[in-house]
Symmetry: C3
Subunit: 135 residues, 3 copies
């Protein structure tokens, strides 16, 4: 009797592990533009000069899920212009207008690391992120 | 007799899996500032001009743990000024002074991807990272 | 009889889990240089000026594997000059010539987050990535 309980518990444990593999994971990514222009700045006794940087960032930049997970991403564009969101290996290529939130869903059925990038702008302006799908 | 051993082995295997879920993971993050000023440079026959970049980086930038892990991070600030370290969804908001190492600990009990960012400086100067918590 | 089947199924399940832990994961990383020079640009009614950025990126930037995985990375250098690829904690320090693809392999036997960086250029020019090894 005691043995049977253990066996059932064990089988149930494995079933639970299987269920976790097939789970769904939701993400919210904010796309935002940062325009920084600092002719000269003194902070805590340190001076920096001639800083000029313009970048668009995905926040968060990197996503990680187990293989088999249904990934649901809501992408909100807070940049003043349209931004792109592409993951080539998953056939994703979206354009999100300013102030728009676009939702997409896919099953992460390929393990590996995949670049999340903007197909509209140079990659050193709109910095790419990564989608990690682990076995 | 043989069967009983397998059952115990199996139950023990599941216990071990449970223990791994509740494990602790330690990280060391170095925050450093990089000031690059290249009026003109010729490398391997390629010329680049007017490069000016000032950035603060977290190294490593991205952390990944299983949900339920106790995360212990030692953050060492090698930048000459104070730097911030925030993960909003986990209520983390630290200021680390130059040459200081600050340690923090939290239980990663929310799955998802969360931005690690500096609350003191523009995000395209001090580039954000990601905390990935997988189910 | 029924009980025996469950026991065998359970043992087999654990064997499979063990096999997954010892799996191999292949990655392809493209190293590319992005030279952006925009004196003035008007996009969708937004004007940006004096943008100058030169960066080298690893695509994808972040890799994640389970501890015990054999990691095989093919690194293709599309930058016009030689680029570096280092992961200190795994003793990796490679130089990849322009147009060259270099392959490396290692067993991810240390859990944690490790910086992937270029030992040849400033880190705010060739932006670092992360290797995440989870328990």
């Amino acid at each position: 009797m005691k043995i049977t309980k253990k066996i059932i518990g064990c089988a149930f444990g494995l079933l639970l592990a299987g269920a976790a593999q097939a789970a769904e994971q939701r993400f919210v990514i904010i796309i935002n533009a940062y325009d920084t222009n600092i002719p000269e700045l003194n902070v805590e006794g340190v001076t920096v000069k001639n800083i000029r940087a313009f970048n668009v960032l995905n926040e968060p930049e990197t996503l990680t899920v187990k293989k088999g997970t249904t990934v649901k991403i809501a992408i909100e564009n807070r940049s003043p212009i349209s931004e792109g969101f592409s993951i080539d290996e998953y056939g994703i290529k979206e354009v999100i207008k300013p102030k728009e939130t676009k939702s997409l869903s896919f099953k992460a059925d390929k393990a590996g690391a995949f670049t999340i990038w903007c197909q509209l702008h140079p990659k050193n302006i709109h910095l790419p992120g990564s989608l990690n799908v682990i076995e």
